[in-house]
Every structure is written in structure tokens, then in C-alpha cells.
Amino acid sequence: MKAEADWGSGTALPDIRGQVAIAGIGETAYSGPSDRTSKGMAAEAIARCVADAGLTPDDIDGIMYSGALGDQFSADDFRAHFGTRHAMWESGDGGGMVWAATAPAQAAEALRSGKARYIVNSFAVDWASKRGAMAGGPGAWHASELIKAQLELPFGWFPQPLYFATFASRHMHEYGTTEAQLGELVTAFRRHANSQPDAVMKDRALSLEDYLNRPHLASPLRVEDCCLISDGGAAYLMTTPERARDLPQRPVSVEGVGHGIIANAPYISQQGDITSTPQHFAAPGAYAMAGLGPADIDVLGIYDCFSITALMQIEDMGFCAKGEGGAFVEGGRLDYQRSRRLGGLPTNTHGGLLSHAYVLGIAHVVELVKQLRGQAANQVDSPQRAAYAGFTADEAGTLILGV
């Protein structure tokens, strides 16, 4: 067992339990190449989100997005698109991935201090449309980073499927995890997509036998173990619980937020334990803030950029012991019909990044809000608590929601 200080740490976050409510959600259609732009899709998702909350664009005085990506929807974009003139609080520390989990921590401060009353966090990508041009996309940052460009790319360790194919080989070596077990996870998410109206893979059935008959992309991973590349966007609206009570939707409360990072960030090749993820450091903080543990989570949204990263995070969040994730996901345990009471752990009930759409986790949070409202296509039986695990290789975020 490696000492925690050896390879990562949790980030101390202010206790915001019960201070933020999610009162609106909005999404675009999800697709492959579509010729839609990121900003255009963000605008569409935000418009639906604001309407879902029973508000108008004039009410929105806070906006969060991923400042690290150049094409996200800022306050200037909001004013230009919606024709509003008022000042807005804005933050580039929102968006998808880890930040779809941690955005409420920063939003809480803005709500508390009166800088904003209604804050929208959005994320949208047009990477399916841009794929042909090889512009941007998930590999772009990794290829531009000096050390990776000089000491990883010249050996062919790129892009991300190779990172996690190698990690998967280690997980299999240390714990006996099998390809069939990865397939159990992949096909569970696919079944969810098959009954999720807006999932990109809705009409593409995939049995475990089909999965095992597919060739390796990069052993031990197949194409089916890797996320889609999609066009799409989504948004959620945050306000205080008091204001949320006056809005039409059942408020969903932010109960806990956590963040973790590896010691050698951003270089995961040097991560101390490559059979784990920084979710190991993020989840404990969220549980502590919420006063809950893994047994209290009724429905899970997990960042499944690869099957193995989802499996490792299930372990790292304490749903089973480290190394037991493979056996844990067998037998349909992640299916939405298998509630915790029935011994299951409904996970990625919309199909996830693997089978719903690759919009980097923002749709996971939207799906969990739907689950807690009772509005999901694959509705879990009366969930009270939901958790989202966000991930970006060297960092992880955890968001616990409740009703």
C-alpha cells in the first residue's frame, strides 16, 4: 500500500454543503460531425437551461465556463447572443471534466457575497466536426506540452487511449482484472444508451460477445473502451436554495464537493500508483462535506473517457476495494434497474462518454439532476443522493447532489 503523500493530495475546499441548488438544466442534441460550433451549442443549451429554471436571460448574472479552452461561452458571448446589457460575474473555472464537479464551490462564494444570484455553468464541444482537420480536440493540449512533446510523443505514447491502455495492463497484472470485465462495464453503459432517446449510440446494440469479438485498438483496449468524439453541449443553473424554492423545478442540492491532484501533475506517466486515479484524493473531501459515504449514493455518474478510468474511479470512490472493480461490475451491477437496495450501483444511466456523448462530463451532471427530479429516461427507483466523478487524467473532482 502506497502512502498517500507519495502520489497525490486532496484540495481543501470551503464547506458549501446546502448553500447551492441546481435549479435548471439544458442540453443540445448530441451527435457526430454536425457543423455546429461550440459557442452556438452553448448558447442553445443555456437558453434551454434558463427556460427550464423558469427564468429569462435578463435574470442571469453569473456565468462559468472552461477558460482553458478558447471557444467556450463567456459573459461577452452571453450579452452578444441574448442581447442583455447588465454586468455579469464570470469565472473560467467552470465547464466540464473536473470543473463540472467543482464549479459549485466557486459559485457558492459568488452567491454568498451577492456577486451573482443566478449562475449558469456550461460546456460545449464541436470536436466531432473538427476531427477531420485535426484541430483542437482531446489530444491537442497533450501534444503541445513541452515535456510530453519531447519525451513521450517521440516514442508513440499518444494520444490518450495509449495512456490508459498501458494503465489497464498494470491493473490487470496486479488485480487479475479481465477484458470481459471491462466489457461488462462497456455493455452496461451501452444498454443505457439504447434506451436513452438522445444518446449517440441509441440504435447500436452491443452484447458482451460482440465486445469480445472486436479487435484491440491498443491492447487491452478496444474502440468500445474509448469515449466517443461528439458535438454537443449542456448547462446547469446554480442559485441559493432559498431562491430555488420559488422556481418551478424540484431543487437539487449540492451536498459535497471534492478535488484531488497527483503529485507529478500533469505527467501521469510518473503517477505513483497507475492502477488508481486522483479520484482517490477527491472523493473523501466530498463525502466528508456531505456527511455521507459510498453506501449512501443511489446513482453514480462517472467520467468514463475509457472503461478502465471508470472502473478505477469506482474503486477509488470506495464502492468496492482497490482491485475488486472488475468483479464488482460483473452481472449487470451498474444497470439502472439494479438499485442499491437490490445490490446494484446504477451508473452512467444516460450511457456516459462511451455511449451517450463525449461532452466531457457536463451531461453526466445533467443526467444526475434528472434522476433526482425523477425525469430521467432510465429512471432509477427514487434516488435521494447522486455522485458525479469528474476526471482529467492528473486531476479529479467529486460532486455529491441530493434532494
Binding site: A143, L146, L151, P154, G156, F158
Partner: protein, 138 residues
């Protein structure tokens, strides 16, 4: 366009590739505490002292690997199929070199198997050939 060409003159990473061109595996070590420091940086991550490029034995073990039959990037077609690997170095197994395993039966590969360095020329599309420290079973 993916930039893959190792820069032998880069102050931080050039010494790695210059050593490799001389068929030596070298990575930074601390002048004070003698520990290896990877990736290269300005000063020792453990004690803050200066670093020097230390020539290593070239022995290690296979920490993790993937057999790549078709390249995920067109530029890698020049050396595909290939076995991408993280190699734990003998001098400090916590240090992992991103590399490749060559001269092997891929069905016999297993994590923790011993490896030794072998220098091979790589030339991804669009690159001038460069001598790279790869590994073979030993």
C-alpha cells in the same frame, strides 16, 4: 500537424536525446541527495539542489504496456505495429521511462518482466531519424 521531432538543443530535454545519440541512457540525478529526478526540471524535487545528467545501467522492468497494431496517429505508422511501454528503471523503479519494447514475442509480454535498453532509430513521418532508447526482454 503533430510535432514529434526531438530537439537535441533544448536546454531541459536535449541532454536526454544527445546521450541517446551516443547510445547511452541518461536522466537527471541530484548532485546532493543522489536521487533521480524525472521529468527534467531546474532543481531537485526532493532537496532543491542542482542536477546533473547521470548515465544509467539501462536495465529495468516492464511497468505497463500496450500492443498497438494500427497507429492511432498517422505519423506513427513508420514504426507500427509497436509495443508502447512504461519502463521502471533499475536505479529507481518509481521513475518510469516512456519507451517501446522491441525484439519480443508480444504474446510473451508481462508486467514486471526484466528489460534492457537497446538503441534504435525511429523516424515517424515528417521527422528526421533519431536514435531512441528502446527496451528488449533480457
Amino acid at each position: 500537424m503533430l510535432e514529434l521531432q526531438p530537439d537535441l538543443e533544448h536546454p531541459l530535454t536535449g541532454p536526454f536525446w544527445r546521450a541517446s545519440a551516443q547510445q547511452q541512457l541518461a536522466i537527471p540525478g541530484c548532485e546532493q541527495c543522489d536521487r533521480l529526478v524525472w521529468y527534467p526540471r531546474e532543481a531537485c524535487s526532493h532537496c532543491g539542489a542542482g542536477l546533473y545528467w547521470r548515465t544509467l545501467s539501462g536495465r529495468g522492468t516492464l511497468a505497463a504496456f500496450s500492443v498497438v497494431k494500427r497507429p492511432l496517429f498517422p505519423a506513427f505508422a513508420a514504426f507500427s505495429p509497436y509495443v508502447c511501454a512504461l519502463v521502471a528503471l533499475e536505479e529507481d523503479p518509481a521513475v518510469r521511462l516512456v519507451s517501446q519494447v522491441v525484439d519480443c514475442d508480444t504474446s510473451q509480454l508481462a508486467c514486471d518482466m526484466p528489460l534492457s535498453v537497446v538503441f534504435r532509430e525511429l523516424a515517424p513521418d515528417g521527422c528526421k531519424p533519431y536514435l531512441a532508447p528502446l527496451f528488449k526482454p533480457c
